[in-house]
């Protein structure tokens, strides 16, 4: 038996660990990141001569359930055609049986990295609103993400916002879904059992943390969006009561007290950005006036200037 040096050992480990794309049109370049279920690699599409991100099942042994999860994830994303959801180009099986799918390679930074470099509250809120819109689109098509967090949101190099990692998404089977394939019509696309906890602790709703799979609906994602919003706003020294109220409403412990949909949350963020009253907060008369003045600062200054001028004229025109 030949002794294996450290270098040779490391090399062999990559030989074993890296996916074998020999039967595909992709050339392996490097690993981009690892998640709970799959690893994402950067690869070159030799036919179209472009870079793609390829997600490959993580597990060293492939079970039918895991294979189905990956296939369903690819199917879910492929059908969610929205500028805020990363498009899938291709899917298949590697020679070792592992399922993969190729998607757009997004150049940019994750939302947490973006927030670290952009402290403008308005910029952050606009990005957050785009996330809400993408999630609302998925909800309208009967898909709950279940793992929304800053690490699963990419900000592209042109400022575009993309929601990634739909690996643990759940299908609600809503009547207005346009999915027709039997395999993705089940109430829970991944056959997760009651008591199974799926998601990320810091961002998951209380009902999700309790493993109440049957109780999960769009409001579980609304809670996660609230947690993402909290992450984006927590370092802001002066936060309006309206912004705080939106955050609290989205992250309410009882789902009945949250926004019913991601669209409602998005609409409130839009109102906040436009300095209009938000549904999550009832203003006092003084706050209403103050917000009105703040929003119409130019008009107020103009009226004030006019009034002052009239007063000045009244006084100066007297004999």
């Amino acid at each position: 038996m030949k002794w294996l040096s450290d270098d040779k050992l490391n090399y062999l480990r990559t030989v074993v660990a890296n996916p074998d794309f020999s039967s595909t049109k992709y050339t392996f370049i490097k690993e981009l990141g690892r998640g709970g279920m799959g690893t994402v690699y950067l690869a070159q599409d030799r036919e179209l001569n472009r870079l793609v991100a390829i997600k490959v099942l993580n597990t060293p042994e492939i079970t039918e359930d895991l294979r189905n999860r990956m296939v369903r994830e690819a199917q879910i994303i492929a059908r969610l055609e929205h500028p805020g959801i990363v498009p899938v180009h291709d899917a298949g099986t590697l020679p070792d049986g592992r399922v993969f799918y190729a998607m757009k390679y997004v150049r940019g930074s994750r939302l947490d990295e973006y927030a670290a470099e952009n402290d403008s509250i308005r910029d952050r809120l606009r990005k957050f609103q785009a996330v809400c819109d993408a999630v609302a689109f998925a909800h309208a098509h009967g898909v709950i993400h279940r793992d929304l967090k800053p690490q699963n949101i990419m900000i592209g190099s042109f400022g575009e916002v993309l929601v990634l990692d739909w690996g643990v998404a759940k299908l609600t089977g809503k009547p207005y879904t346009d999915f027709t394939d039997e395999s993705v019509q089940s109430v829970d696309g991944f056959n997760t059992n009651a008591g199974t906890v799926i998601g990320t602790r810091d961002y998951m709703s209380p009902e999700q943390a309790r493993g109440e799979i049957d109780q999960l609906d769009e409001r579980a994602d609304v809670y996660s969006l609230g947690a993402v919003l909290h992450f984006l706003l927590k370092d802001q020294p002066k936060l309006s009561k309206a912004a705080q109220a939106i955050c609290l409403k989205a992250r309410a412990d009882e789902k009945e007290n949250r926004y019913s949909t991601a669209s409602e949350l998005s609409a409130d963020i839009g109102r906040l950005l436009d300095a209009e009253p938000v549904s999550a907060y009832r203003e006092s008369a003084i706050e209403k006036a103050s917000r009105w003045v703040s929003k119409n600062r130019f008009l107020v200054l103009l009226v004030l200037a006019y009034v002052l001028m009239r007063v000045f004229l009244v006084f100066t025109s007297q004999p």
Partner: protein, 244 residues
């Protein structure tokens, strides 16, 4: 550190794995237990010997006797059957048992001697001794590193055997030249020329033999882990990029 996605939870249970020597070590059947023990011995004797040499500063002869004594004692007293997968990995358990055994031996002032009524295993200590090199790793990391090295060495040997048995010696030779060799100038084209094959065939052969190698590594790992969870953790540790 990024928050990780959990897929599991309190009700997620991991069944005992098939073909696990760790499970076999608990068997009432003497033959099953012996076979399981042999698998554990094969997988761990070399890292154990090197660990004893390094951590316990044992000389060559003392380390040989302690390695033999530890495994003989473990088999005789069925120590490995007491492993609880919920507490630690088997590797950690074995290393802890090893430390306990040596500490007891040292405390008692005994010096184990081969022979007598103790089991004696045919182990290639001379090669293990020649492979010893100074390391700045902690003893625990060193043990793990040597175990990974040994697992891959065993897997390469198993791959060679399987290729020979299935008449695919060229596959293994290509693997040996390209993946195991030290020649940095070797390429698919040069191998194609050397073996009288098309470069595409070299590519296909290498892809196939690497798949076999991967399968063997995981089979070996499966044999020495007790649960699916432990298997997954060890697989990540063995194959992942974050292993020391």
């Amino acid at each position: 550190m990024d928050p990780d996605t959990d897929i599991g939870g309190p009700l997620h249970k991991f069944p005992a794995t098939n073909h696990s020597a760790i499970v076999g070590a608990r068997s009432d059947d003497q033959v099953t237990r012996r076979r399981a023990f042999d698998t554990i011995l094969t997988s761990y004797w070399k890292p154990a010997y090197k660990y004893i040499r390094l951590k316990w500063h044992a000389d060559n002869e003392d380390a040989k006797d302690l390695t033999q004594g530890f495994f003989a004692n473990a088999f005789e007293k069925n120590h490995f059957a007491g492993y609880d997968a919920s507490k630690a990995s088997f590797q950690t358990f074995l290393r802890t048992c090893l430390d306990g055994f040596i500490a007891n031996e040292r405390k008692a002032g005994r010096r184990l001697k081969r022979g007598g009524d103790m089991d004696h295993y045919q182990l290639d200590f001379a090669t293990a001794e020649n492979e010893l090199v100074a390391s700045d790793l902690s003893p625990e990391d060193y043990f793990h590193r040597e175990w990974v090295r040994w697992m891959f060495t065993i897997a390469v040997d198993a791959l060679r055997q399987r290729c020979e048995e299935s008449g695919r010696t060229t596959h293994f030779q290509l693997f040996q030249r390209y993946d195991l060799g030290d020649d940095t100038n070797v390429s698919y084209a040069s191998l194609a020329n050397e073996f009288g094959l098309e470069p595409a065939t070299v590519n296909n052969y290498l892809a196939a033999v690497r798949r076999d190698f991967r399968r063997i590594v995981l089979e070996k790992l499966r044999e020495i882990t007790a649960t699916d969870e432990e298997f997954r953790i060890e697989a990540r540790s063995l194959l992942g990029v974050d292993v020391k």
